[in-house]
């Protein structure tokens, strides 16, 4: 046996051999690694410690560098750890710290080994154990080893003590009760004269204070002393971090530390310390003007530095200052703008953020213009960053910042034509949203929409499809603002629309329908109008003058709106939400009025609605949409079918009437105009923004069973969807056959035909109103067409940057005094316009930890609860502070000055000084008792390990469980029991 182990030892490859051969290997890395792992698996089973540990060493190398799993070797790790030879032990500990985690089963085996090594006389063994503990300590390990760590906290060997201090952080985290034992000593270390110990302990407090700063307020005097006395930059940075957390909680603290912090800022040559001071001032001491001024001065130096790191941090610091000190950013605007052309994307983004923070309504237009020019010549990534930030800033709080919506809408249009633009979805949403919310912007919206729609090149760009979708919708919805509806129609019907994905195509088709109705309506009105001008013998009701006609239409619309409303009830929660009946009717009247106006203007201007043009329009629609009947997509097919049947219906009426006698012409005209009127009325109902909470306001009808599992429902829905589409297909020709009939059918036809049509259209519209904007991604179409807007030459970026600085400077300085236009009304819903902000849940604070710390610090027996113990907390803090400061001669003067400023509370406290001392003494006494208890407990634990563990588990978990939650569960249980009981009784009754 001995012989074989020697042989093993001789022929084993050392770690170095393995690394060397791996560098020379020819068989491929993975094969080599698996071979080596096989070898290790064999060697690690050896009884020889040397062989075993070398194998383990190789394994941990492979695991660290090549990610080989070594969890299988955990038992061998424990074996090597317990070796008596330090070189082996070291390898074992290293492997353990690398591979063990909370779920490693062998963790239970190492407690005693760790305890032994922690109390070893060899400080390197202790250090190994501490290192391991800091990485893998679990609740059990932390609890069981707390006494050892406690002892090490006051050892004279600094090498060990500093590590013990660092380990405490993990121990507290896992086992909060350790605070009762160790905290006092930890605090004592804060006063240690050894800089190493202070470094370690302040690091621990920095981490502790980040989680729950309030508990450490009483220690402020100690921290203050370090802040004033320490010469070590690492320590100072950490202490500043602690104060950055503490100062907002106690304003007197800010007054005290602001001077030393400024002192460091002025004197220190270390950039890291200066920067930390700046950050502390800007985040936590922002009320102290002189300090902030000094900090901003420092930031200015950073922002213009050669070093990109400092520039980045400078900008970062400015962004911290934004909420309270915007002037700091404005002062540095030049540097900020210059950073937009930095080499580094991170710096560019940071400066962009700052730039957007500076924007206000007076110069949003100028800045956006500048940025847009900038986006044109940036790389795609940054270009979209710019667009994104413009879009976000301008749409913030319902376009709060935008005054001139015509400008904004045209800006959106311009963004769409930037070649790298990938913000289609956002632009789409905003275009539609502005259309619904801002009435005055609709004219411009339609203009912008037209420009986008009419350009055939844009159809080839996949990223623009969503924007085109919005443009098409806008063009259809607000067609009455269009200068030339026929042009729009041409744009929507152009052959390249076949490049669009079906969902957007469907929107196009529906817009065509809306524009068609508008044109026909205008045409008929025109005919009526001309009729009234040239011949007097037209029917009374229909051929009134415009004003009168508008009135009747308005009343008609009112009723129509009402009926719409009633029909809508079933589908549309939006209408239930507001008192939409009144609203829609009002809007309707408005709309009719404007409609009349634009109609007259177009009539005067161009006489566009000639008979021929209408007929050619109808023909073209038929021609283009004819093939769509065989389209694969249901939505496209259905909508195209609807339009086609309508076109056929109207065509017959209109084309026929030129041939037939005057009498029938009138009758038929009337019929068509009724159809058109009805259809137009469906379209004139104003669409408004929908509140996010609208759905919630719809009461669930009684007797409706809401199922959580909708699998069944889906099957049913699938059926109905199919049947409805098929009924559409048969329904449309049916309408035509009726209209085919003679004039005897007229009455029936008038009732049936239009109604048929209009209900189907209402259906359609509802679908559109609700689900207009398809959510799925547009299909990818190769982008082979030239882009509309070519980027400018990149040649003189620097010149342009300088120009940009000038421009922004102007724009930032210039206050626009005269606003030519008042800001238009933006429709806002009273609630839920913005997505409901989920109620912020208070973070699960580490109550047990902070509670324990407060207990130790304050000696208060009852309350770990912060609010209860706070008053006493304050007074004790002050006493300590006072004690410290009076011992510290230098700051005594200041203290006095403060004293004279606010005499009352301090005096009152100084009278109770004695009391405080006694309290502390008492507290010390208790500390010892607690310690004793801990020992007792430990003794018990040895006897009943499992029980003790369960107990602590319970204790650690209990603060987390929410009482309301429990209540809720109880209620549920109760109702469950009740229903069960009622069921039982029912069953009994049945029997």
């Amino acid at each position: 046996m001995a012989g074989s182990s020697i042989m093993e030892n001789l022929f084993q490859r050392s770690l170095e051999d393995m690394i060397k051969s791996m560098r020379l290997q020819l068989i491929g890395e993975t094969t080599f690694i698996s071979k080596a792992t096989e070898e290790i698996r064999r060697e690690i089973k050896s009884t020889d410690q040397q062989t075993k540990s070398t194998a383990l060493q190789k394994l941990s190398y492979l695991s660290a560098v090549h990610g080989v799993d070594m969890s299988w070797a955990s038992f061998h790790v424990v074996e090597v750890m317990s070796s008596s030879k330090f070189a082996h032990k070291r390898i074992g500990y290293h492997a353990a710290s690398q591979s063990f985690n909370d779920d490693t089963p062998v963790l239970l085996l190492i407690t005693n080994q760790l305890r032994k090594d922690l109390s070893s006389t060899n400080e390197f063994e202790v250090s190994l154990a501490l290192n391991l503990l800091s990485r893998i300590a679990t609740l059990d390990l932390a609890r069981d080893l707390t006494p050892e760590v406690f002892k090490l906290l006051s050892t004279t060997k600094v090498f060990v003590r500093k590590k013990a201090i660092a380990v405490v952080l993990r121990v507290f985290d896992k086992y909060p009760d350790a605070v009762r034992v160790c905290f006092k000593r930890l605090v004592e270390n804060l006063e240690s004269s050894d800089p190493l110990v202070v470094t370690a302990v302040i690091g621990v407090f920095c981490e502790l204070a980040a989680k729950d700063p309030r508990s450490y307020l009483p220690l402020a005097p100690e921290f203050y002393r370090i802040l004033v006395d320490s010469k070590n930059n690492w320590v100072l940075i950490k202490v500043l971090k602690v104060f950055a957390k503490l100062a907002p909680l106690e304003h007197r603290l800010g007054k005290r530390i602001v001077e030393p912090v400024c002192d460091h800022m002025r004197r220190s040559g270390a950039k890291s310390l200066v920067f930390e001071c700046v950050r502390t001032v800007l985040t936590s001491l922002s009320d102290y003007e002189s300090a902030v001024k000094l900090a901003v001065e420092k930031v200015r130096e950073l922002v213009v530095d050669q070093d990109p790191n400092l520039r980045y941090l400078g900008l970062h610091a400015l962004s911290v200052a934004v909420p309270k000190h915007l002037w700091a950013v404005l002062e540095n605007k030049e540097a900020v703008v210059k950073s937009l052309s930095d080499d580094d994307l991170n710096i560019k983004i940071e400066s962009l953020r700052l730039l957007m923070a500076m924007v206000s309504e007076s110069h949003v237009a100028d800045i956006s213009r500048v940025l847009l020019n900038y986006a044109l010549k940036s790389d795609p990534g940054f270009c979209n960053e710019i667009l994104d930030s413009i879009l976000r800033t301008c749409s913030r709080n319902l376009y709060e910042i935008v005054v001139d919506f015509d400008w904004y809408v045209s800006l959106l249009g311009e963004m769409a034509t930037i070649p790298n633009c990938q913000k289609g979805e956002e632009i789409e949403t905003q275009l539609v949203d502005i259309g619904m919310r801002v009435k005055d912007a609709r004219m411009e919206l339609v203009r912008v929409g037209r420009d986008l729609l009419i350009d055939p090149a844009l159809l080839g760009n996949v990223h623009l499809h969503r924007i085109l979708c919005a443009a098409a919708w806008v063009a259809g919805e607000y067609v009455e603002f269009a200068s030339n509806p026929f042009e729009l129609m041409d744009a929507l019907l152009q052959p390249r629309t076949s490049l669009l994905p079906p969902s957007i195509r469907a929107v196009y088709i529906n817009s065509v329908l809306k524009i068609l109705i508008f044109c026909l309506d205008c045409y008929l009105l025109q005919n009526d109008g001309s009729g009234s001008l040239y011949s007097g013998n037209l029917e009374g009701e229909q051929s009134e003058l415009f004003s009168a006609k508008n009135d009747t239409e308005a009343t008609k619309l009112a009723t129509c709106g009402g009926s719409n409303y009633e029909q809508d009830v079933g589908f549309n929660p939006r209408n239930i939400a507001d008192s939409s009946e009144d609203l829609s009717v009002e809007n309707g009247i408005d709309r009719v009025a404007t409609h009349g106006k634009t109609f007259t203007s177009t009539l005067v201007a161009g006489k566009n609605f000639l008979y021929e043009s209408i007929v050619s329009l109808l023909n073209r629609i038929e021609l283009i949409f004819g093939p769509l009947i065989t389209n694969q997509d249901v939505e496209v097919l259905e909508r195209a079918q609807n339009i086609l049947s309508l076109v056929q219906l109207i065509k017959e009426e209109i084309i026929d009437n030129s041939v037939q006698s005057v009498d029938t012409v009138e009758k038929k005209d009337t019929r068509v105009s009724t159809i058109i009127n009805l259809m137009r009325d469906t379209f004139t109902t104003e669409l408004g923004p929908v509140s996010v909470s609208a759905q919630g306001r719809v009461a669930v009808p009684e007797g409706l069973v809401l199922k959580e599992n909708l699998d069944e429902l889906q099957a049913i829905c699938g059926d109905t969807e199919l049947s409805s589409s098929s009924s559409f297909a048969t329904g449309a020709p049916h309408g035509i056959t009726i209209s085919d009939g003679s004039s005897s059918n007229l009455l029936q036809n008038e009732e049936l035909g239009p109604l048929n049509e209009s209900t189907s259209l209402i259906e359609h519209r509802k679908r559109h109103g609700l689900y207009y904007l398809p959510s799925e991604k547009s299909e990818i179409v190769p982008d082979e067409y030239p882009r509309a807007n070519d980027p400018k030459s990149n040649s003189n970026i620097n010149d342009e940057a300088a120009e940009l600085v000038k421009l922004t400077e102007q724009s930032l300085m210039k206050k626009r005094t005269n606003q030519t236009k008042p800001r238009p009304v933006v429709v806002k819903l009273d609630d839920g316009d913005l997505a409901p902000i989920s109620v912020k849940r208070p973070e699960p604070r580490d109550d047990s930890l902070s509670g324990a710390i407060q207990d130790v610090l304050l000696g208060s027996e009852s309350g770990p609860s912060v609010s209860q113990s706070y008053p006493s907390n304050k007074s004790s803090r002050k006493q300590k502070e006072k004690k410290k400061l009076s011992s510290n001669g230098r700051s005594e003067m200041k203290e006095n000055a403060v004293d004279s400023e606010k005499p009352d509370p301090e005096r009152a406290n100084s009278s109770s000084k004695n009391h405080g001392h006694s309290k502390e003494r008492k507290h010390r006494g208790k500390e010892k008792i607690v310690e004793g208890e801990e020992r007792d407990q430990e003794g018990k634990k040895k006897s009943g390990h499992g029980r003790g563990r369960r107990k602590t588990h319970h204790r650690a978990k209990s603060p987390l469980s929410d009482p309301t939650h429990i209540l809720h569960i109880k209620q549920v249980q109760k109702s469950y029991v009740e229903t069960k009981a009622s069921l039982n009784t029912k069953r009994e009754e049945e029997k």
Binding site: V65, D69, A87, L169, S272
Partner: protein
């Protein structure tokens, strides 16, 4: 926890040393390292040494063919971490004498021990080069 992890990666993106101060599984580590290496190695000298990644801030510095990457919490002082990296490199330099990638490859354990002396639990506990190296030299002597 201030420091979350320390990585040393060569120009080719191979990890040479990885020390994590919070537990991640092997897969998570590999994914994280891949993402970070892709992000940081593509940057040039004129760009700043700070990269935001997931919820970490990564502070990195390049020395010859080796990248030193340190993942820290968001409120950690970036410049201090840069100084820490430099300190680490200087310490290794003093021990190995003009440290290079191979030194770290063949003495990975030692590099780990140096780091362990400097950082515990994510807190920097030792910033004195001779203090860091004393135990390592002692270990060298005994073994």
């Amino acid at each position: 926890m201030g420091i979350r992890f320390v990585l040393m990666v060569n120009k080719q993106g191979q990890t040479r040393l990885a020390q994590y101060y919070e537990y991640l599984t092997l897969e998570e580590r590999r994914a994280l390292e891949g993402e970070i290496v892709r992000k940081c190695l593509a940057r040039n000298e004129q760009q700043c040494s700070f990269v935001e990644h997931r919820n970490y801030k990564i502070v990195y510095r390049r020395y010859a063919s080796l990248f030193f990457l340190v993942g820290v919490d968001d409120d950690e002082n970036e410049l201090a971490i840069l100084e820490f990296i430099h300190l680490l490199v200087e310490t290794m330099d003093r021990h190995f004498g003009n440290v290079c990638e191979l030194d770290i490859m063949f003495h990975l354990e030692k590099a780990h021990f140096m780091l362990e002396e400097m950082v515990m639990n994510g807190c920097i506990v030792e910033t004195n080069k001779s203090n860091i190296l004393t135990p390592i030299q002692l270990m060298d002597k005994t073994s």
